[in-house]
C-alpha cells in the first residue's frame, strides 16, 4: 500500500491535475447534456457528489469481500441504489430542476467517472481515502461543468444564473444552448486547457 496516494493527494489530484472531465475524459454525457445553464450544471454536480461519495465509501468498506469477476455488477447495483435516492430527493424538493435534468439523473448509473473511481481508488484503499477521492473528483467535475455552462449560458442567453449580465443589445447566440454548442464549447475549452498545460510543461522544462 506504500505506493498508493494518500487521502490528501487523492483530494488535490481530483480537482485539477487529474480533472475527471478535461484530463481523464470521463463522464462526458452529462458534461455535454446539462451544461446549457449554470443551475442545471450545479444540481447535476451535487447529485454526482452524493452518489460518488456514497458509492466510494460503500465499495471501500466491502472491498475485501469483492470477487473479481462480479465486482462491476456490485459497483453498478450500489450506484443504482444511490442514484434512486438522489432522483427521488430531487423530484421531491426541486421538482422543476428534476424535470429539466430528466433522464440524465438516472444516467449517472452508467457514468464512467463513478465506476472508474470505484475501480481505481475505492476497491483498493481505505474509507477515508475513498471519501476524500470522491469529494476531490466531484469538485473537479463541478468545476469543469460550471466552466462549460458559464460559457454556453453567457453566449447563448446573455445571462448567468438567469440574471442578465450582457447588455440587452447582445444578440443571443441561440446555437450555444442547443446541442451543437455543447460540442463546440467543450472542444474549444479542451483545446485551450491542453494548450495551457503544454505551455506550462514547456516552461517548466526550459528552466
Amino acid at each position: 500500500m506504500a505506493d498508493q496516494p494518500t487521502a490528501a493527494e487523492r483530494f488535490i489530484q481530483g480537482i485539477l491535475p487529474e480533472n475527471p472531465v478535461y484530463r481523464q475524459l470521463l463522464g462526458l454525457c452529462p458534461t455535454l447534456a446539462v451544461t446549457n445553464g449554470l443551475k442545471a450544471a450545479i444540481t447535476m454536480s451535487a447529485a454526482v457528489l452524493f452518489v460518488l461519495f456514497c458509492a466510494n465509501v460503500i465499495v471501500s468498506l466491502i472491498r475485501n469481500l469483492l470477487k473479481p469477476h462480479l465486482r462491476i455488477v456490485i459497483f453498478t447495483l450500489t450506484i443504482a441504489t444511490f442514484v434512486t435516492f438522489a432522483d427521488r430527493f430531487l423530484a421531491a424538493y426541486v421538482y422543476q430542476m428534476s424535470k429539466v435534468l430528466g433522464p440524465y439523473i438516472p444516467l449517472i448509473i452508467v457514468n464512467c467517472l463513478i465506476i472508474c473511481r470505484c475501480e481505481v481508488c475505492a476497491s483498493k484503499q481505505g474509507v477515508v481515502t475513498a471519501g476524500a477521492d470522491a469529494i476531490g473528483q466531484s469538485l473537479g467535475f463541478c468545476l469543469a461543468l460550471c466552466s462549460i455552462a458559464a460559457v454556453r449560458e453567457l453566449l447563448g442567453t446573455g445571462m448567468l444564473f438567469d440574471i442578465r449580465v450582457l447588455p440587452v443589445v447582445w444578440p443571443d447566440w441561440v446555437i450555444m444552448v442547443l446541442p451543437p454548442g455543447a460540442f463546440l464549447t467543450f472542444g474549444l475549452l479542451l483545446g485551450l486547457v491542453n494548450w495551457y498545460s503544454d505551455r506550462r510543461a514547456a516552461a517548466a522544462g526550459g528552466k
Binding site: T76, A80, V110, N111, P179, P180, G187, G191, N194, W195
Partner: protein
C-alpha cells in the same frame, strides 16, 4: 392500422435521424469518442449496440408492463397471494426501476456474450470485444428509460406504448448511433492526414467536428411533423392521431 404503421415509421425515423441519440441527446458519447478511429471498428461497435439495445428494449418493456408499473399484472397477482386483493391492486414498484434495468442490461449482455460465443463463433469474433463495453453504454439505459416514461408517464393507459413501438425506438436509436459513429470514423480517418494545431489533436478536434455534425443533423428538425401531415390519409384521422404525435416525440 395505417395510422399505427405511420406512427411506427415516424418513431423509427425520429430516433435514428431527427433526435439522434448521440448528436441530440448526448448518450453514448464515450464510445463515440473512444471507438471512432477506424470505420470497421466503428461499424462493429454499432452492430453490437443495435443487437443489445433491441434485447434490452424487449426486456425492459416486458418488465415495466408486467412487473414495475402501478398495478402491473404480475406483481399484483403475486402480492395478491399475501395481502387482500384491494391492497395488492395499488402496488407500485416504479421506484425499483433503475436497479432492475441496470441489472437486466448487465446480465443480458453477459448471457448474449456466452450464447454468441458458443453458437456463432464468427459473430463473436466480430462483436466480442465490444460486448462487455456496452453494459456501461448510456444509450442502452437511455432507451430503457424512454420506454419506461412512455409506459408509466402517460395519463391515459390506452396511450401506453406496445412492444412494437418500444422495439422500433430502440432499433432506430441503435441505427442512429451507428450512423453517427461511422460518419465520425470516416472523418477522423481523414483528419489523421490533416495538420491540426497540436493542442487540438485527438479528442478536442473530434468534438468540434461532432458539433458541426450535430449542426447538420439539426436540419432534420420538423421532418417528422411534415411527414405525418403528408402521410395522413384523411383530415379526421389527423385530428384523432394528433395527441399521439405529441407523445411520440
Amino acid at each position: 392500422m395505417i395510422s399505427y404503421l405511420i406512427d411506427i415509421f415516424l418513431i423509427g425515423i425520429g430516433a435514428a435521424l431527427i433526435n439522434n441519440f448521440v448528436l441530440y441527446y448526448f448518450v453514448g458519447i464515450c464510445p463515440f469518442v473512444g471507438v471512432s478511429r477506424k470505420i470497421s471498428t466503428a461499424f462493429g461497435m454499432g452492430c453490437a449496440v443495435i443487437f443489445v439495445i433491441a434485447i434490452a428494449a424487449v426486456i425492459s418493456w416486458a418488465i415495466t408492463t408486467y412487473v414495475l408499473m402501478p398495478g402491473a399484472l404480475l406483481s399484483r397477482t403475486v402480492a395478491g397471494l399475501f395481502v387482500p386483493p384491494e391492497t395488492a391492486a395499488g402496488i407500485d414498484l416504479t421506484i425499483l426501476s433503475y436497479i432492475v434495468y441496470i441489472f437486466a442490461i448487465s446480465s443480458s449482455v453477459q448471457f448474449v456474450e456466452m450464447y454468441v460465443r458458443k453458437f456463432f463463433p464468427p459473430l463473436y469474433k466480430a462483436l466480442g470485444v465490444y460486448l462487455p463495453l456496452i453494459t456501461t453504454n448510456c444509450a442502452i439505459l437511455f432507451a430503457c428509460l424512454v420506454i419506461m416514461s412512455k409506459i408509466t408517464g402517460v395519463d391515459n393507459p390506452a396511450d401506453a406504448w406496445d412492444l412494437g413501438r418500444a422495439l422500433t425506438l430502440a432499433v432506430g436509436g441503435g441505427i442512429g448511433f451507428t450512423i453517427a459513429i461511422v460518419i465520425m470514423a470516416g472523418i477522423r480517418e481523414e483528419l489523421d492526414l490533416c495538420d491540426v494545431p497540436k493542442p487540438f489533436k485527438g479528442v478536442a478536434i473530434s468534438l468540434i467536428v461532432a458539433g458541426i455534425l450535430s449542426l447538420g443533423f439539426m436540419g432534420f428538425t420538423g421532418v417528422d411533423s411534415g411527414l405525418r401531415k403528408a402521410m395522413m390519409p384523411k383530415p379526421e384521422v389527423v385530428a384523432q392521431v394528433q395527441p399521439e404525435a405529441e407523445a411520440g416525440k
